[in-house]
């Protein structure tokens, strides 16, 4: 294995400018970061420093204004919409702060949704994995509950299971515990660490919570569109 292969994320000199002309604001001013397979990395920094913007770019949901980006060894800048969808489906999992689940579907249906990005039908192997993941996040007895009937912490744990169902190399979590109380957020973080260790999945987590950042392998600090330290 070369060094390249062990890096699930290689971002080089990412620049992001919103707006044009006089209104242009540079939000990211040359951000470089690498995350290795299975690494658990925190992204901290003051509000408005560009954390969410950077995660969106890494997640291929937002195009950078400049720089280079490799996900699981693949250069993703310049890929078309369809190919980007595929990259996200195969290599990346998302956990958002709000909008966790599709409320009209059950927990397990939510977990299985990403399967349809790559397959026309859900096969037994995936169903088994979904059950397994829901059990791991402590929701074995909530498998067939409507998402709308779950508590905030339960929803976020279903979202974690969903982010992992396709066995991605990298999970991006933008303030995953931002909406949860102390107890739930500790619980969710414990789960993420556990799953990261068992599945060998890298996590990249933005957070304002120092106690969460402390429990990560590495902390990246964003200040005014640049990584420091």
């Amino acid at each position: 294995m070369t060094a390249q292969d062990t890096q699930v994320l290689v971002a080089t000199d990412i620049i992001k400018t919103f707006g044009e002309g006089d209104n242009a604001t540079q939000v990211l001013r040359g951000v470089s970061a690498t995350i290795a397979r299975g690494e658990f990395v925190a992204l901290v920094g003051p509000s408005g420093s560009g954390k969410s913007t950077f995660l969106s770019i890494v997640g291929t949901l937002l195009k950078p204004s400049g720089g280079a980006l490799r996900i699981a060894g693949e250069d993703v800048l310049g890929l078309h919409e369809r190919a980007l969808s595929e990259v996200r489906n195969r290599h990346i999992g998302f956990v958002f702060q709000f909008h966790h689940l599709l409320e009209d579907f059950t927990a397990i249906e939510n977990v299985l949704m990403p399967v349809f990005g790559a397959h026309t039908r859900v096969t037994g192997g995936f169903i088994e994995r979904a059950h397994d993941l829901l059990e791991r996040v402590g929701l074995a007895d909530r498998v067939s509950f409507r998402a709308s009937k779950l508590s905030g912490g339960q929803k976020q744990r279903v979202a974690v299971a969903r982010a992992l169902v396709m066995k991605p190399e990298l999970v991006l979590a933008d303030e995953p515990t931002g909406n949860l109380d102390r107890k739930s957020s500790d619980e969710v973080l414990r789960l993420l660490r556990e799953l990261s260790r068992d599945e060998g999945t890298a996590f990249f987590i933005s957070t304002h919570d120092p106690s969460i950042a402390q429990r990560c392998d590495r902390i990246l600090t964003m200040v005014d569109g640049r990584l420091t330290g």
Binding site: L61, L62, I92
Partner: protein
């Protein structure tokens, strides 16, 4: 398609009140469609039947032969002087072969040879000018529905019998069983110099066809008696035909004219206004149907626009983990189609029931409905297919907008 169907169905089911209301709206549109179709088609059939039912669809008569007399021209040439109206009544002498030709022609139902002539029907002091129609007894009912329209007596055209219209009977003051004398106004044959022929007849039947000109003028007698009365040794005056498809009358008339060298006219020539009226009615009917489809399309489109904006976050999440734009598009088009299909089938069923109910409710004592609605002509399949197409087309724009939603924006908002 499993994913699309699963999501589309779930969205419809979880918003069951809106979905139900929307489907009901589609149903109402389809009910309007089928009702208008059943009513307008029924109406045009009734109008056509009323008019075409009691008249000949095609009439064959001899070309008017105009008598010519030589006149000396000032330049020494011969000229013809034309004196219409002074000729003998024209006769189809070859009518047997004409009948054969006509009956062999595809689409001709019956061909009836008739002798027509003007006469006077008299009883006691009173007399009334009549149009005498001589027809073979077995064909008496073939053109006008005389038998069905009898108000007194029977349609018995034996020798010496006459069947007359009710207005005529009233004018003369005759009833079934009364004797009348029938005199030909002029004879067809110049050689019968013995003066107008006359016959004493017995009134056997009185009818009301509902057409004033017939009810107050026509007297039916047997063909042989009519020939004798008008001094026609051989031949008939006209041949009247009924055809299977009344709208094919003109085409058939042209072919008959070519084949028989007779002058052919049709019921449409005499009822030009009907055709225009029916066409205007069809246009109106199509407009109403079009508007009902437009209403369906607007309903589906606006409901789906709402649904798309309510599901923005869902769409963003789905797109973030790699569900393609095509799948999102198909999901929403499918919602439109499902609503359309369900609403249309229910609507067609309701329309079917509604037209039947209306028919039952409007039945009069005689068994004829006062509203000419024909449930069999509700165009149900067409209504379903068109409503489905309207729903699908209406769903395309909201579905396309859904597929264009930026996942990041949807998730962050």
């Amino acid at each position: 398609m499993i994913f699309e169907l699963k999501v589309a169905l779930r969205y419809l089911v979880s918003a069951r009140l809106q979905s139900g209301l929307l489907m009901f709206g589609v149903s109402v549109g389809v009910v309007v469609f089928t009702f208008i179709a059943a009513l307008m088609n029924g109406l045009s059939v009734r109008l056509t039947d009323d008019i075409a039912g009691n008249v000949a669809h095609v009439t064959l008569e001899p070309e008017l032969r105009v008598p010519r007399a030589f006149m000396a021209s000032p330049k020494g040439r011969a000229l013809f002087a034309v004196q219409p109206g002074h000729d003998v009544e024209p006769v189809i002498r070859t009518y047997r072969s004409v009948l054969e030709v006509a009956l062999r022609m595809h689409g001709v139902r019956v061909a009836v040879p008739e002798v027509l002539g003007n006469g006077t029907l008299a009883r006691g002091e009173k007399d009334v000018a009549v149009t005498v129609t001589g027809v073979e007894a077995e064909n008496a009912d073939a053109i006008a529905k005389v038998a069905k329209s009898l108000v007194r007596g029977r349609l018995d055209l034996g020798v010496g019998n006459v069947v007359v219209g009710s207005r005529l009977a009233a004018e003369l003051g005759v009833d079934v069983g009364d004797r009348v004398s029938l005199r030909a106004s002029r004879t067809a044959s110049p050689q019968s110099a013995s003066g107008p022929a006359e016959a004493v007849m017995v009134v056997r039947g009185i009818f009301t066809l509902g057409v004033q000109a017939i009810d107050e003028r026509v007297a039916y007698i047997d063909l042989t008696s009519a020939k004798k009365l008008f001094g026609i040794a051989d031949g008939v005056s006209i041949i009247e035909l009924k055809v299977d498809d009344v709208w094919q009358a003109n085409t058939l008339a042209r072919r008959l004219a070519r084949a028989t060298r007779l002058k052919a006219s049709t019921w449409l020539d005499r009822n030009a206004r009907l055709e225009g009226g029916l066409r205007a009615q069809a246009t109106t009917s199509n407009m109403i149907k079009g508007f009902s489809l437009l209403t369906i399309a607007i309903g589906v489109a606006s409901a789906l626009f709402l649904s798309v904006s309510r599901r923005r976050a869902d769409i963003g999440i789905l797109r973030s983990f790699g569900i393609g734009r095509g799948a999102i598009l198909r999901t929403f088009v499918l919602q439109g189609l499902l609503i359309g299909a369900f609403g249309a089938v229910v609507g067609a069923g309701l329309g079917f029931g509604f037209t039947h109910l209306l028919l039952l409710a409007s039945l009069t004592a005689t068994g004829a409905p006062s509203i000419p609605v024909d449930p069999a002509q509700g165009e149900y399949t067409r209504a379903i297919v068109l409503a489905l197409i309207a729903s699908g087309v209406a769903a395309v724009l909201p579905a396309w907008l859904a597929s264009r939603i930026d996942p990041l924006e949807a998730i962050q908002s």
